[in-house]
C-alpha cells in the first residue's frame, strides 16, 4: 500500500480475495485474522471459495446453484496486472508488485484459532508480481518458497516476513521484569512463549517466523494486552557474545509480564 500516516491493513477473518500493493515497507503490517486462501471451517471441513451469499459456504454444491459463479473474461494481455481482471478476485492472494517489495510483515491466523495451522495458508504471497520472475510463497511452491515453513531468507524477499501464527500454550504472567527493551536468549524466548508465568491468561501468543539473517524481524503479539512488538535477532558475536532476541517497544501494560528475560 502507499501508506501514509496509519500503516495498517487488517483482515479480521479470512482473505480469500486479493490484495495488490506496490510494496510493503518496513514498519507496515498486513494482519489476517484467519486464513489466506481457501481454508477449513471450524469443524475441519473444506471451506469453499464459492460465490454464495451465505456467510460461510461449506457445501461445495451450493456453488452449483449459481452457474455464473466463476466468471472469466478476456484479459487484454493475459497477465494479472489489472484491477479489473475479475478472476483475481477469487484466489486468496497478496500480490506485491515490486521486486524485493516485502520489507514489512504479514501475519496469517492472527487470531491463533484452533484450526490446523498449515491449512490457514493455502493462498499465495507473491513478491515481484509485476516482474518477469516473481517469488511465490505458497503451499504449492517448491523449496525454499513452500509455505508455511518456507526457508528463503528475508533478504530475498525484501527484508520482511510472512508469519503463520501457531497456537501455543497459554501464557500467564507472574511478577517479574518488564518486557520493555527485554533481551532474551533463544531458549528464554522459547520459554517465554511456551511457559506458564503467573495467573493471567494471555490467551494465545502469535509467533511469526523468519529465519536466517541477522536483524531478522519476528513479531509476537500479546493479544490480551493488545501489544505487538518486534523482536530483533542478534546472532552470536565473534567475540563470544550471546545470541539474543531484543524486544523493542513492548512497554505500556506489560510491566507484570516476564520472569525469564534479562535486561
Amino acid at each position: 500500500m502507499y501508506y501514509f500516516g496509519t500503516p495498517e491493513t487488517t483482515i479480521a477473518k479470512s482473505l480469500l480475495g486479493e490484495l495488490h500493493l506496490p510494496r510493503l515497507s518496513t514498519g507496515e503490517h498486513i494482519t489476517i485474522g484467519s486464513s489466506l486462501g481457501i481454508g477449513v471451517g471450524p469443524f475441519g471441513e473444506a471451506l469453499e471459495t464459492c460465490l454464495c451469499s451465505d456467510l460461510v459456504c461449506f457445501v461445495p454444491n451450493d456453488c452449483a446453484l449459481f452457474p455464473n459463479a466463476w466468471p472469466e473474461f478476456a484479459d487484454p494481455v493475459a497477465i494479472d496486472d489489472s484491477p479489473r481482471d475479475n478472476d483475481m478476485a477469487l484466489v486468496g492472494a497478496i500480490r506485491i508488485a515490486e521486486d524485493l517489495g516485502l520489507a514489512g510483515q504479514i501475519i496469517i491466523n492472527d487470531d491463533a484459532n484452533s484450526l490446523p495451522n498449515p491449512t490457514n495458508w493455502t493462498g499465495q504471497v507473491i513478491i515481484g508480481s509485476n516482474t518477469p520472475n516473481p517469488i511465490i510463497l505458497s503451499p504449492d511452491s517448491a523449496a525454499p518458497y513452500t509455505a508455511p515453513y518456507y526457508t528463503a531468507k528475508s533478504s530475498v524477499l525484501g527484508g520482511g516476513a510472512v508469519g503463520l501464527a501457531h497456537v501455543d500454550q497459554p501464557l500467564v504472567p507472574e511478577r517479574g521484569v518488564p518486557l520493555d527493551d527485554l533481551e532474551l536468549g533463544l531458549r528464554e524466548l522459547d520459554r517465554l512463549l511456551q511457559d506458564l508465568i503467573g495467573n493471567i491468561e494471555l490467551a494465545k501468543v502469535v509467533q511469526g517466523r523468519a529465519y536466517g539473517d541477522a536483524q531478522d524481524s519476528i513479531m509476537i503479539k500479546l493479544k490480551v494486552l493488545g501489544q505487538r512488538t518486534s523482536i530483533k535477532h542478534h546472532p552470536p558475536s565473534v567475540r563470544g557474545g550471546a545470541e539474543v532476541f531484543e524486544l523493542d517497544g513492548a512497554d505500556e501494560g506489560l510491566n507484570d509480564v516476564g520472569g525469564h528475560g534479562r535486561r
Binding site: T6, A12, G17, H20, T49, P76, S82
Partner: protein, 585 residues
C-alpha cells in the same frame, strides 16, 4: 414602516402602475356543476369584499360565501383576482388575504384560486384547479400577494389553494416574521416573474408556504377536506423564476385518523427556473417531515451560508435534488449549501419495500456543503434500468454522508471530499451502515475519500452486510479509473475508487450469489484498510492500469515484455498524520 416599504417594493416591481382597489372575490358551489366535468365557463357570484385602500388587505368570510351561493353549499370554489387579469396582465396586488370564519356560518371547504375567474366576456380565466397540479396556471390573478391567513388558524386545513402571481409571493422586506401563505393544501404556487422592457421583474417567493393539512390519499379520501382531490400531495408545485427564500413546509399530521397512523405531508416539486448559477435560488428550508419530497430542481444555488444551511428534510424519502432546468438535461455548476435528510421519521429500516426513506438522486456539477442522511441511496423503483441514480457532486463535498441501510444499484460520485478537522471530525466521512451494492468514487484527478465505512451497523434480518459485487463487467479498455458506471452494462459497478483514500473499513467483501463480478477497491494510495471477512474481491493499490496506445491497447515494455503501467501519483508530499487522526488525506 414595514407596510410602506412593502408598498414601495410592490410599486417598483409594477413600474409605477399599481392599483390596490380592484380586487374581486368570486365564488360558486364547487359541486354544482362539478367543475371537473362541467362547462369551463360557469356562473359565479361576486361577493363584496373590503378592499382597504389603506392596508390593501382583502378579507372575506365563510358566511359571505354561504349566503352568496344558492342551496347553502358548504364547498366552494373561490377566485380572488384583479379583474384586469381577465383580459390582460394584473396590475393590482394584495398585501394580506384573510378568510374569516368567526361570524355567521363557520364551516365549509374552499378551493382558493388566485387567478382570474371565468367572468362573462373574459378572454382568460382559470375555471378550476387543473386536474393535475403540476400543470401551469396560464393566467395570473394578481401582481403580488403577501400572505394568506385564516381566522381562526385551525380553519386552514379546510382550504386548498392554487396561487399564480405575476410578481412575487410575499414581501422582500417582511422577514421577521416572514409573510406566510398557510392553508391545508397548496396545489400550486407560481411566481415565475415577467420581463418588462428587457428587465426581469418579480419571480420570487419570499413568503413561507405552509400546507397545514395532510396529503390526499385515495384510501382516506373520505376523511379529509376536498375529498374528491384524492392522491395528491399537500404541497404540489412551487415554482419561482428567480428565488425561493421562504420556507416550504408540508406539515402532515401526527398520529390520528385511520389506523392512528402518521398522515403524510408531502411536497411534489419545488422549482427555481430562471436563476443563474451564482444566484441564491433556494435559501429557505424545504420540509416534509411526515412525508416525501419528490423533486427539487433549481438553476440557482441552494443555501448560501455554511453557518445557516438550508434544511431539506423529508420523513419518508426524497426522489431528486438537482441543479438543472426543468426542460434541460445539462447539470449546472450550482453550489448546494444544505443539510439533506430523507429519513427523518426514523424507526426501523424498511427491509421489504426498500424505498422508504430513500434518497434517489442528488446531482450538481458544483460544490456541496452539508450533510446527507438517508436509509437508502437507490433508484426509485426496482425496475429502473438507468445507472445514474445516487449522489453526484462534481466539485468538492464538505460534509458527511450517512446511509442507515444500503446503497443499492446507485453511486456516490464526488469530485473530492474535504478532509476532516479537529473541529469537524466527521467531515469527509461516508458511513453506509449495511451494504454497498454500487460504487463510491472520487472523480477528480486529485480526489480524496478520507473515510468510508460499510456494514458496521447492519440492519437485523437483512441480507448479508458489506460490499456485494455487481452484474456488470468492469470497464477495462479504455480504462476509466474513477467512473462509477461502466459502458453498456446492466448495473452500476461495484467499486470504491479514488486517487487517495484515508480509511476503509468493511465488514464483509464478497460476491453475492446473484452477482457475476466481485467487488473492488482501487486506489493508488490507501491509508488504513480493515476488512473483517474478505471472501471475494480485490483491493488494488499502486499502479492502476496500463499505458494505452492510440487504439486503446496496452503498450508493452520491450525489455520485460510486460505492459507499461500508469505512473502512480507522487506520494512524497503526503503529510504524515497522527495514527489517531482521521485526517488521513
Amino acid at each position: 414602516m414595514k407596510m410602506v416599504n412593502s408598498l414601495a417594493m410592490l410599486g417598483a416591481l409594477a413600474l409605477g402602475t399599481v392599483s390596490y382597489a380592484d380586487i374581486q372575490v368570486w365564488t360558486r358551489d364547487r359541486n354544482n356543476p362539478d367543475p371537473l366535468v362541467g362547462p369551463s365557463q360557469v356562473s359565479a357570484t361576486v361577493i363584496p369584499v373590503p378592499n382597504d385602500p389603506t392596508t390593501f388587505d382583502v378579507t372575506f368570510t365563510t358566511e359571505s360565501l354561504f349566503t352568496a351561493v344558492p342551496a347553502g353549499s358548504i364547498e366552494w370554489i373561490v377566485w380572488v383576482f384583479d379583474p384586469a387579469s381577465a383580459n390582460g396582465d394584473p396590475v393590482s396586488s394584495i398585501r394580506s388575504l384573510t378568510i374569516d370564519t368567526t361570524t355567521g356560518f363557520r364551516q365549509g371547504n374552499i378551493r382558493l384560486i388566485i387567478a382570474p375567474a371565468p367572468l362573462p366576456g373574459s378572454t382568460q380565466s382559470q375555471p378550476d384547479f387543473p386536474i393535475s397540479w403540476d400543470r401551469l396556471l396560464f393566467f395570473t390573478g394578481v401582481l403580488d400577494l403577501g400572505s394568506i391567513t385564516t381566522i381562526p388558524a385551525d380553519f386552514a386545513p379546510s382550504v386548498s389553494a392554487c396561487i399564480a402571481v405575476a410578481g412575487n409571493v410575499g414581501t422582500a422586506t417582511a422577514l421577521n416574521p416572514r409573510d406566510k401563505a398557510e392553508v391545508g393544501q397548496i396545489y400550486r404556487s407560481q411566481a415565475q416573474g415577467r420581463t418588462v422592457n428587457n428587465q426581469f421583474l418579480g419571480g420570487n417567493i419570499f413568503a413561507d408556504i405552509v400546507a397545514a393539512g395532510p396529503d390526499s390519499l385515495a384510501i382516506v379520501s373520505s376523511q379529509i377536506p376536498n375529498s374528491t382531490d384524492v392522491d395528491r400531495k399537500a404541497i404540489g408545485y412551487i415554482v419561482a423564476g428567480k428565488s425561493i427564500q421562504g420556507n416550504i413546509v408540508s406539515e402532515g399530521s401526527p398520529f390520528g385518523g385511520p389506523n392512528n397512523a402518521v398522515r403524510s405531508g408531502s411536497i411534489e416539486a419545488v422549482v427555481v427556473s430562471s436563476a443563474t448559477e451564482s444566484d441564491p435560488g433556494i435559501t429557505g428550508n424545504i420540509l416534509a417531515q411526515r412525508g416525501t419530497i419528490n423533486s427539487i430542481l433549481t438553476t440557482g444555488m441552494i443555501g448560501t451560508d455554511a453557518a445557516a444551511k438550508s434544511q431539506i428534510r423529508a420523513g419518508r424519502g426524497i426522489t431528486q435534488i438537482r441543479a438543472i432546468a426543468e426542460s434541460s438535461s445539462t447539470v449546472l455548476g450550482v453550489d448546494f449549501v444544505a443539510d439533506v435528510t430523507a429519513n427523518l421519521l426514523g424507526g426501523d429500516v424498511d427491509t421489504f419495500f426498500r424505498q422508504d426513506k430513500s434518497l434517489n438522486k442528488l446531482e450538481t456539477a458544483g460544490n456541496f456543503i452539508g450533510t446527507i442522511n438517508a436509509d437508502f441511496i437507490r433508484p426509485p423503483t426496482d425496475t429502473s434500468t438507468e445507472l445514474d441514480w445516487g449522489i453526484f457532486v462534481g466539485g468538492t463535498f464538505t460534509g458527511d454522508i450517512h446511509v442507515r441501510a444500503s446503497v443499492l444499484g446507485a453511486s456516490i460520485a464526488i469530485g473530492s471530499f474535504t478532509a476532516p478537522t479537529t473541529a469537524m471530525p466527521n467531515t469527509g466521512h461516508i458511513v453506509i451502515d449495511h451494504s454497498l451494492d454500487g460504487a463510491v468514487v472520487a472523480t477528480a484527478a486529485n480526489g480524496k475519500i478520507p473515510y468510508i465505512s460499510i456494514g458496521r451497523t447492519p440492519t437485523a434480518n437483512f441480507y448479508r452486510p458489506g460490499m456485494l459485487g455487481s452484474d456488470s463487467e468492469p470497464q477495462t479498455v479504455p480504462f476509466r479509473p474513477w467512473q462509477p458506471a461502466p459502458f453498456n452494462q446492466p448495473q452500476v459497478d461495484s467499486m470504491i475508487a479514488a486517487p487517495e483514500i484515508g480509511t476503509i473499513t468493511i465488514s464483509n467483501m464478497f460476491q453475492a450469489g446473484d452477482k457475476r463480478y466481485a467487488p473492488r477497491i482501487e486506489s493508488p494510495k490507501i491509508g488504513t484498510l480493515i476488512i473483517d471477512d474478505f471472501r471475494q474481491g480485490l483491493v488494488w493499490s499502486g499502479h492502476l492500469e496500463y499505458v494505452l496506445d492510440a487504439n486503446g491497447n496496452p503498450t508493452i515494455d520491450a525489455a520485460t515484455g510486460r505492459p507499461n503501467l500508469l505512473t502512480p501519483q507522487d506520494d512524497t508530499n503526503i503529510t504524515q498524520k497522527s495514527p489517531k487522526s482521521n485526517s488521513a488525506v
